[in-house]
C-alpha cells in the first residue's frame, strides 16, 4: 500500500489502516521518546499519546512532508513538552519544600538509565553517555537522538525539526563537543 493510500484510509477513519500504522511506527516512536526522556514507562506513555494525537489530527495532515517525518515531529515535540513539565514540577516541589520548613529536599543523583537495546558489554558506558545526553540543550539532544539512535540522515532531521541543513550540522557538532566535554569531566572526576 502506498503512503497516499494509507493517508486516505486514515482520513476515512479505517481502523485497520490505523492499526497498520501503529504496528509500522510504534517502535520508532517509542525509541525516539525513550532516547529523549530516558524512562521506559514515560516513553511508552508519550508513544501512546503520539498515536492518539495522530488519530485526532490526521485530517489536518496536508501531506507536505512524509508521514514518518510528521510522526517523528509529533514525537519529539511531545517528549520535550514532557521534559519541560517534569522540570517545572521539580522546581515547584523544591520551592514548596523551602516554604514547608521541615527540611530541604536533598539534591539526589538521578539513577543511571539503562537502555534495553544496549549490548551487555556496553551497558555501563552507554548509561554514562545517556546521562551526558540528558544534560544537552533540547535541540542538540533531539538532533543527536534522531541521528545516533534512530539513524536518520541530516536531511531527514531537517524535515523533522523544520530547520536548515547547516543548522542540523551545527547542532550535531555542538552536541558532540558538549558530550566530549561532559564525558571528559566525568572521567576526570571519577579517576581521582
Amino acid at each position: 500500500m502506498s503512503e497516499e493510500q494509507l493517508i486516505t484510509l486514515l482520513k476515512e477513519g479505517n481502523p485497520e489502516a490505523f492499526r497498520g500504522l501503529i504496528e509500522q511506527l510504534k517502535n520508532k516512536v517509542f525509541n525516539t521518546a525513550l532516547g529523549i526522556v530516558q524512562n521506559t514507562e514515560d516513553a511508552e506513555d508519550i508513544a501512546q499519546e503520539v498515536f492518539v494525537e495522530i488519530f485526532q489530527s490526521i485530517q489536518q495532515f496536508k501531506g507536505d512532508a512524509k508521514l514518518t517525518t510528521w510522526v517523528y515531529r509529533i514525537t519529539f515535540t511531545k517528549s520535550l513538552e514532557f521534559l519541560r513539565k517534569k522540570k517545572s514540577k521539580k522546581r515547584f516541589a523544591f520551592v514548596q519544600s523551602l516554604f514547608a520548613g521541615d527540611s530541604v529536599l536533598p539534591i539526589e543523583d538521578k539513577p543511571h538509565f539503562y537502555h534495553p537495546g544496549v549490548q551487555l558489554e556496553n551497558k555501563e558506558r552507554a548509561a554514562v553517555l545517556f546521562n551526558a545526553i540528558e544534560q544537552l540543550p533540547d535541540n542538540q539532544k533531539t538532533a543527536f537522538v534522531l541521528h545516533k539512535l534512530e539513524g536518520l540522515s541530516y536531511v531527514e532531521i531537517c524535515d523533522v525539526m523544520l530547520v536548515s541543513l547547516s543548522s542540523v550540522e551545527s547542532l550535531m557538532f555542538r552536541a558532540k563537543q558538549n558530550l566530549q566535554k561532559l564525558l571528559s569531566d566525568y572521567y576526570e572526576k571519577n579517576e581521582k
Binding site: E23, V52, V118
Partner: protein, 103 residues
C-alpha cells in the same frame, strides 16, 4: 589524558549498533482505550465554510455602509438646518436677560 580521551570515544561509540527497544504487547489496546476515553475534540471548520462566512460578513457590512451613506446624503441638509435652528433657539433662550438672576 590519552586514556580519558579514549574512554570518551569508546563511550560515545557505545550506542553504535543499538537494538530497538520493544513496546508493551498491549500497546495497541492501550491506545484504543485512550482514544475512547479522550474528551471529544472541538470540531474545526472547513476553509470553504470560513470563506463563506467571511464573504457574508463583508456583504452585510457593505450593504449597511451603502445604506448609511445613501441615507446620510438625502437627510444631511434637513438635519443640519434642523439642528442649527434648535441650537440657535437654545442660545437665544440661554442668553436672554429674563433668565438672569437678580440679586
Amino acid at each position: 589524558m590519552t586514556t580519558i580521551k579514549q574512554k570518551v570515544e569508546e563511550t560515545i561509540a557505545s550506542i553504535d549498533g543499538l537494538q530497538r527497544a520493544e513496546t508493551n504487547p498491549y500497546f495497541y489496546d492501550k491506545i484504543m482505550q485512550r482514544i475512547k476515553s479522550a474528551p471529544a475534540r472541538v470540531v474545526t471548520m472547513k476553509p470553504s465554510m470560513i470563506w463563506t462566512a467571511a464573504a457574508c460578513l463583508v456583504l452585510l457590512f457593505g450593504i449597511n455602509l451603502f445604506t448609511w451613506i445613501d441615507y446620510s446624503k438625502t437627510t444631511n441638509y434637513t438635519n443640519h438646518t434642523k439642528t442649527d435652528a434648535t441650537v440657535n433657539a437654545l442660545v437665544k433662550d440661554y442668553f436672554s436677560t429674563n433668565n438672569v438672576l437678580q440679586f
